[in-house]
Symmetry: C2
Subunit: 357 residues, 2 copies
Amino acid sequence: MHDILPAGATIGILGGGQLGRMLSVAAARLGLTTHVYEPGSNAPAGEVAHAITTASYEDESALRAFAQSVDVVTYEFENVPTSALDLIESLVPIRPGREALRISQDRMTEKDFLTGLGLHVAPYAPVNDLVELEAALEMLGTPSILKTRRFGYDGKGQVRITAAEEAAGAIVEIAGVPAILEGFVDFSAEISVIAARGADGAVACYDPGENIHSEGILRQTCVPAALPTGLRTDAVLLAGRILNALDYVGVMGVELFVTSQGLLVNEIAPRVHNSGHWTQNGCVVDQFEQHIRAVAGWPLGNGKRHADVVMENLIGDDMERVPELAARSDAALHLYGKTETRPGRKMGHVNLVKPLG
Amino acid sequence: MHDILPAGATIGILGGGQLGRMLSVAAARLGLTTHVYEPGSNAPAGEVAHAITTASYEDESALRAFAQSVDVVTYEFENVPTSALDLIESLVPIRPGREALRISQDRMTEKDFLTGLGLHVAPYAPVNDLVELEAALEMLGTPSILKTRRFGYDGKGQVRITAAEEAAGAIVEIAGVPAILEGFVDFSAEISVIAARGADGAVACYDPGENIHSEGILRQTCVPAALPTGLRTDAVLLAGRILNALDYVGVMGVELFVTSQGLLVNEIAPRVHNSGHWTQNGCVVDQFEQHIRAVAGWPLGNGKRHADVVMENLIGDDMERVPELAARSDAALHLYGKTETRPGRKMGHVNLVKPLG
């Protein structure tokens, strides 16, 4: 690929959901085209991408044609099969790189990586069977959370354990797949740092946002987070440490717990992140353009915050609020064009904006 | 059509240039899809639209299929042939309506309409031949400008006349088509009001911007315009008068001359306008989303300005400035994905942003 992708160059995006959709729009704004690869039909990103391939991650000829049609490949989610990535990488660069994917695809590997960097995480132990779970519960106590090592998102693949006798049921619930047990963390808030690193090694972080979850799904992110200045600096420094250790190129979402002992890393996502959607109406360059800039070899843009923003996800029936929100003068709506509303399905989000000064 | 277009509904856009491209992106943000109709190949809007029809405005079956595939039709430029509009309108609503198009397609009709509303325009006279031009020059003097009544844009179809003996040459230069002569206006500045009117009759105007042209092409728009408060109010009121008179639905660009006698209307464009591109980085809801909101029957959004902005067009070789601009922290780039650079061709624009407060 060129060092700096010129107008008309094509970025391949693995995954055609709303993140791919907003990445496509950001690429278009910079004069770049996108080609989306998505196994499912009616992909939200397909509406705005120049091209879409609808094929499985096992379809080698489709993967090959996709890779040959683009200048660089990025992704909107981290669970792309390794075999697909191997084939693609033999033909075209993947940004962010494979190491970030390898680490974030497995909760155990991720925690080992983070602690290896000297960062703090919740106490954890590997769990491959009931015997190991019982030992882990002995060590970490309850309440604690059993999480599958792979393929978890939006609270899926997680079982909360409040007493040792729930161990057997928990193993059944996660179908006996490799897991980790995470000990209880007494946190006062969860915050996210949306961090970016350019191909030139420059690092830029957006202001941390404070997250509110319900039923395992992000409901709201508020910026600024209510956070002492010292922790704000800590958050940015530790995000930078993670990006540099991975020689990372692109945007990463870093979820942190605020505790009385400082910050713990909850998890990292090697992609644009739901908790960074506020940047669309709070910054000159939002997380989607920032990611595209990095992936395309451009310099990072200015992510300085010019507004206080509350981002609310519109999930399932929240879509009934759209007419009211559309009429609010502080509301910037972002809908994903999904025609079928389902409970728990992310249909859009709204940024409630209050310009600074 | 529905009163208020729901997610997944389709907006047809006549014209596939950069305005259609940015309209498509704004529609996608609201969960709407777009279908672009464009006679030329490699249309910039085609990259981001859900569908594109490449066919001439004389192709009745293509026009019919297009109209039948969408819920409402809008346009990115005003010179769509009447026959095409007639056919489309027999199948689906067109917004803004035909009256705005009829008036803005002909400079003479437009000036008669504006003066009929009690608004001021440059002195003008119809010119159908050399005899009429000589009479008009006698009345309006020199310097003055001969403009074709139809199909003028970006300074095309215009001849400046500095002495009466240039009359015959000017008629030849515009190929003898129906024209008007416009008398000299001593103006201190040209400003634009980007005005919007919703399907419910609500009117909203963005802050006026000050325009700088060169060789007939807009180079720069600055907000705020250096304008006394009284004239700012005048500008907004007269724009509202135009929109209401036309029962207009959508965004209109109104170009005004600032003179010692007050404001003169230079011309109106029944569409989003180059001088409104600053709104993309200066307002929560930009002119493109505002237009889509109106066309889709949504309430108008909040166009309050939260930043000072200088919008510069990137024309032809200005693209060489992109690497430098990409690295500037105050610059928001918007490129149109045109791979062929030509002198005078609009390739993109940059908003230089200074947040208020």
